[in-house]
């Protein structure tokens, strides 16, 4: 347990010490928030969708979270190149504890990043409808972060160098973001796209956050929680299996 804690703490320290990364990774969500939120706002309202900024803000928060979470997982590759990975690999602790510490740490920092985006959204004119449900939104943020952190850890355990990074971003993370309900509502989508969105785990996280922040408590939220929670556990198992097969 102490091993999980100290590795969690390491991720937090690394995050809080690299201001440039913290600020740099805010650029993209902020850009999306202002360009899409304000840009599509009028046309969305005219189409009868209501306030687009309110709709898209949880999606943008999710964006901030998943990019950070995946990146945090892939950091294993840096650890491999800078050599620190060996230190953890020869340590007498179960691989699951190492993966848990890293992944929980990565998920925590990604969630913090999501909270920062939330604050920016609030400044930009976003309103939380039910402050009582806000903690539930945090839970969804954390689960999204955990799922994507575990995905990043799995990828980082398999890749040997940063060459494949662009591939992962363009063919996994970006599609997961765009083919979700983050930027547009599911209703009225072409069938194929609708199925893709339904199968995408991110959709459940965004739906949950949206309900908690601007909607209402509903049974859907329980489904969303169950799907994300189960997926997080499965992915943690997969990533600790892949991690345990690393040889240096």
């Amino acid at each position: 347990m102490r091993a999980v804690w100290i590795l969690w703490l390491r991720q937090i320290k690394r995050y809080s010490r690299s201001r440039s990364r913290m600020i740099g990774s805010l650029g993209q969500p902020v850009l999306f928030l202002f360009a899409l939120g304000y840009g599509f706002g009028p046309i969305y309202a005219r189409a009868g969708g209501g306030n687009y900024l309110e709709f898209v803000a949880p999606g943008i928060m999710a964006m901030g979270i998943i990019f950070n979470a995946v990146f945090g997982g892939i950091e294993i590759i840096w650890d491999r190149q800078f050599g620190f990975l060996k230190e953890t690999l020869v340590a007498p602790v179960p691989r699951l504890a190492i993966v848990l510490g890293r992944t929980l740490g990565g998920a925590t920092t990604a969630m913090l990043q999501g909270v920062i985006v939330l604050v920016i959204c609030l400044i930009a004119g976003f309103h939380i409808h039910h402050p009582l449900l806000a903690p539930l939104a945090l839970l969804f943020m954390f689960l999204i972060a955990l799922v994507f952190s575990a995905i990043g850890t799995a990828i980082g355990s398999v890749l040997k160098d940063m060459q494949g990074f662009q591939l992962i971003m363009n063919f996994l993370v970006m599609p997961l973001f765009f083919f979700s309900n983050a930027l547009f509502p599911v209703s009225g989508l072409p069938a194929a796209l609708r199925i893709a969105v339904r199968l995408n785990p991110l959709s459940y996280g965004v739906a949950g956050m949206r309900d908690a922040l601007v909607g209402r408590a509903s049974l859907d939220m329980a489904t969303d929680l169950a799907v994300l929670g189960a997926l997080a556990i499965v992915l943690l198992g997969v990533s600790s299996f892949l991690f345990s097969r690393i040889e240096v």
Partner: protein, 286 residues
Amino acid sequence: MDGTGGEALFQPEGMTREACAMAAMIEVHDLVKEFGTFKAVDRISFSVGEGTIRAFLGPNGAGKTTTIKILTTVLAPTSGRIKVAGYDPVRERTAVRRAFGIVFQDPSLDEELTAYENMQLHGVLYGVPRKELRERMEALISFVGLWERRNDYVKQFSGGMKRRLEIARAFLHQPRLLFLDEPTLGLDPQTRSHIWQFVRGLSREHQVTVFFTTHAMEEAERVADDITVIDRGRIVAEGTAASLKDQTGTGTLEDAFIAVTGRDIREDEAGPVDRMRMMRRAWRGR
């Protein structure tokens, strides 16, 4: 292994009878490691008695680091029987990991953390009790002369300082067995002698077994009880420094080393990319 060790020389096939009889901290029998068709380690056998200091010498690419990686559980052997501190590094990894400390050939610190934090992380991973951890950290960081710099980030350290910190870290959980893979690379003579003195002291007073590699022959001669020489994946000589010199009829260990390993200059040990290339070449040849 005995002190005279004459018959130990040129015994690539087995180990000395004396070594078998002693309580062994490391036992290796017919160890093989292949990367594709390349045999990095080719049926080596040796044993290291508890509380002794063994130098593991060989030219670049001889198989030293591969052997250490297998003994320290980070690389799986192709075949062979191994016991480290009485446990099997393949099936009883955690028990083996608990028993040894290691200084790797290349850096293994987290540069974004401070010296103190690196030590603390190690202590917690190895389950050192909190109170003892503080005392030991203080003693060890002071020992390697980094106490004043303990709160600085490791990325601000020179190569030698990082090395010293890694050495202090390897001792932190008080292992019974120490692997030192070229530990003094890049250190000045003062620090080298300081560290070797400490290692010898540990070995004498606490029966710590030390297994180290080096290219500095005088270090091997001065520090090690016994020497094992590996070349092209096979053990080509074993014994004390004196017996190696006797057997080869040479005056220095360096000459004895060259006598058993030849004068060719070797390629560096293959990294993952080289191994991949080698595999690809083997594949195309079919």
